[in-house]
Symmetry: C2
Subunit: 316 residues, 2 copies
C-alpha cells in the first residue's frame, strides 16, 4: 500500500484518482481548489478529501508523494512553489501535467536545495486512460521513481504484451533525470501532430477524389493488416462513422497546446530538420485563418507583376 | 473451390500462392518467366505449374481469373496485353501489383471492349503478409470482385475484430470501379511516407537530445496505450533492438517506389494542400544527396551578400 496526495481533480486528475482507488488499495488524499469537486471525488472514489494544500500535506506520512495535475505553466509553478514551503526533505513532488521539460529542470534544481525530489511524468492516452490505462513517460531521481512505481503500475499497466521483454510488464518508462519524462512526451506530441496531418491529407484527397470513396470503410480497412494501421487510424474510422465521411458539421479550427512549438524550438537548438512536424503545426495555424496577410500579399503581388485580377474581400 | 492463375512468382507472388494453397483448397495454376521458379513454387506449394501464359490460360476453366503479380509499369502492361490476346469474354484479369490508378482505368477500358473484366488490388502488409495476411484495397466491376472474393478472403483475412461491424470479417475492401483500389493504395503509401517521416524526426531529436535516451525503450513504451501507438512504431522498436539505438551501420539513402509522387501529382490536380506528404518525399530526395546544387548555391549567395566564408568541397 502506497500513500499519495493528488492536487488537481479535473478530468485527468479525477480520472487518475478514480483509477487508483478502483484498481488498488493505495491511500489517496485528494485536493482541488474547488471544494465541491473534492467532495464529489471523495464520495465517488473513496479518496480522502483535503480542504487545503496544508491539510493534504498534513494527512500524508513522510516521506510524502504529492502528484500535481493542474494546467501547465503558472498554475503548476504556483502549486510547486506552495508545496515547497509545506514539504520536507525526503518528500517527492510529481508533476503529471504538460510542463515544458526545461521548467522541470529548473524546479528540480530549486526543490533539491531543500532535499525534495521532483519527478516529471508525461502522460499520453487522454480521456481513454481511465478505461485502458495511460502511457507514462517518467523523468527524475531513481529513488523517487522507485517509490512512485506502485502508483505508476496502477495508472499505466501493460496494454501490449509485445514489449514485455524490452520494458517489463508495464505501461510506463523511466528515461532519465528530471525533465526527461516531459521531453519524451513533448516529442511524442510533435510526432502525433505529424501522424495526424499525414492521415488528414490522405483523407482530404479521398474527399476530393473522382471516386465516391467511403472514408469510414477505408479507415476501418487500414486497421486490417496495413502498414498504416494505428490507434489514430481507429479513431479516424470512429470519427467518420459518428460524424459522417465529410465531417461537414465540424469546424476545421484546430488548436494546439504547445508541445509542437516546443518540439520545433528544440529542433532549432539541436539543428535537427523537422519539416513534417513543423508543417503540421503550421497547418494548424492555417486552420485558424492565420496566414491571412500572406495570402492578401500574394494576391497583391500577382496583380502587380502580371495584372492578375484581385478579389476584394467580402467586406472590403 | 475457386480456380485462379498466378503470373509472377517473386517474393510477393510466391508468398501469395503459398498462402492460398496452405490455407484453402483453391486450385492455383502458377507461371513465372523463370521456369526454375515455377518448379520450386509448384513443389513447395502444390500449385500446378505452367510453362507459358498460353499453358496457364489453357489449364484454367472459363470464366477464368488470372492474377498478375509482376513489377508495375512495362512488365505489368506487357502481361495484360499478352493476356488480352489469350483470354475470352467473361474472364477477369487481376492486377495485384503497384500500378498507377490511371493505368488501371486505361487497361479496364481496353479489356472491356473484349468483354474481359479488370480488377485492381492494392496490397499492403509487405513480407509480413504471408504470416498475418495482407490488407487489400480493391477496384473493379461488382461481379468480377464477387467472383474473386474467395481468393481475397484467404489472402486478406480479418486481423482486427474491431472493424467487423463496419466492413465484415475480412481484410479487404471494394472501393469502386477500376482504379479505385490502386487509388486508395496510392494514398495509403503517401500517408505512410508522412507517418514514417514524423517518427523519424522525433527519434532524430532523441538521438541529439541532452538526455541519454534509449530509442528502443521509447518505441516500445509508445506501444503501451500512447496516442502514437502503431505498427510502424512496433517496427521502429524492432529496428532499434536489432540494429542499435543509433542505427549507425545503416546508410540513410531512402528510395521510393513512386506512389508518393503520384499522390502529390493527384494533390496538384485536385488543389489539395499536402505539405506533410510532400515534405516526406522531399526528405527522401535529400537522403540521396539530392539538393546538392541548392546547398552550393545557398553557400555562394551567403558569400556574395555578406562575405561569409564558403567551404570548398573535398575534391574542389
Amino acid at each position: 500500500m502506497t500513500q499519495i496526495g493528488f492536487v488537481g481533480l479535473g478530468k485527468m486528475g479525477g480520472n487518475m484518482v478514480a483509477r487508483i482507488t478502483r484498481d488498488s488499495d493505495h491511500d489517496v488524499v485528494a485536493f482541488d481548489r474547488d471544494p465541491d469537486v473534492v467532495t464529489t471525488i471523495a464520495e465517488q472514489t473513496g479518496a480522502r478529501g483535503a480542504d487545503s494544500l496544508e491539510d493534504l500535506v498534513g494527512k500524508l506520512q513522510a516521506p510524502r508523494l504529492v502528484w500535481i495535475m493542474v494546467p501547465a505553466g503558472a498554475p503548476t509553478q504556483g502549486t510547486v512553489d506552495a508545496l515547497a514551503e509545506l514539504l520536507q526533505a525526503g518528500d517527492t513532488v510529481v508533476d503529471g501535467g504538460n510542463s515544458k521539460w526545461t521548467d522541470d529542470k529548473a524546479r528540480a534544481a530549486t526543490l533539491a536545495a531543500g532535499g525534495i525530489d521532483y519527478v516529471d511524468v508525461g502522460t499520453s492516452g487522454g480521456v481513454w486512460g481511465l478505461e485502458v490505462g495511460y502511457c507514462m513517460m517518467v523523468g527524475g531521481p531513481d529513488e523517487a521513481v522507485t517509490r512512485l512505481a506502485p502508483i505508476l503500475d496502477v495508472l499505466a499497466p501493460e496494454t501490449n504484451e509485445l514489449s514485455r521483454d524490452a520494458i517489463g510488464p508495464r505501461g510506463w518508462g523511466h528515461f532519465g533525470p528530471s525533465g526527461a519524462g516531459h521531453y519524451v512526451k513533448m516529442v511524442h506530441n510533435g510526432v502525433e501532430y505529424g501522424l495526424m496531418q499525414a492521415y488528414a491529407e490522405g483523407f482530404d484527397l479521398f474527399d476530393k477524389s473522382e471516386y465516391d470513396l467511403d472514408n469510414a470503410k477505408i479507415a476501418h480497412l487500414w486497421g486490417q493488416g496495413s502498414v498504416v494501421r494505428s490507434w489514430l487510424c481507429e479513431l479516424a474510422a470512429r470519427a467518420f462513422e459518428l460524424q459522417g465521411n465529410d465531417l461537414s458539421e465540424l469546424s476545421g479550427y484546430t488548436a494546439d497546446s504547445g508541445e509542437g512549438r516546443w518540439t520545433i524550438a528544440e529542433a532549432m537548438d539541436r539543428d535537427v530538420p523537422t519539416p513534417v512536424i513543423t508543417a503540421s503545426l503550421f497547418a494548424r495555424f492555417y486552420s485558424r485563418a492565420n496566414g491571412d496577410f500572406t495570402h492578401r500579399m500574394l494576391s497583391a503581388l500577382r496583380a502587380q507583376f502580371g495584372g492578375h485580377a484581385t478579389k476584394k474581400s467580402a467586406d472590403g
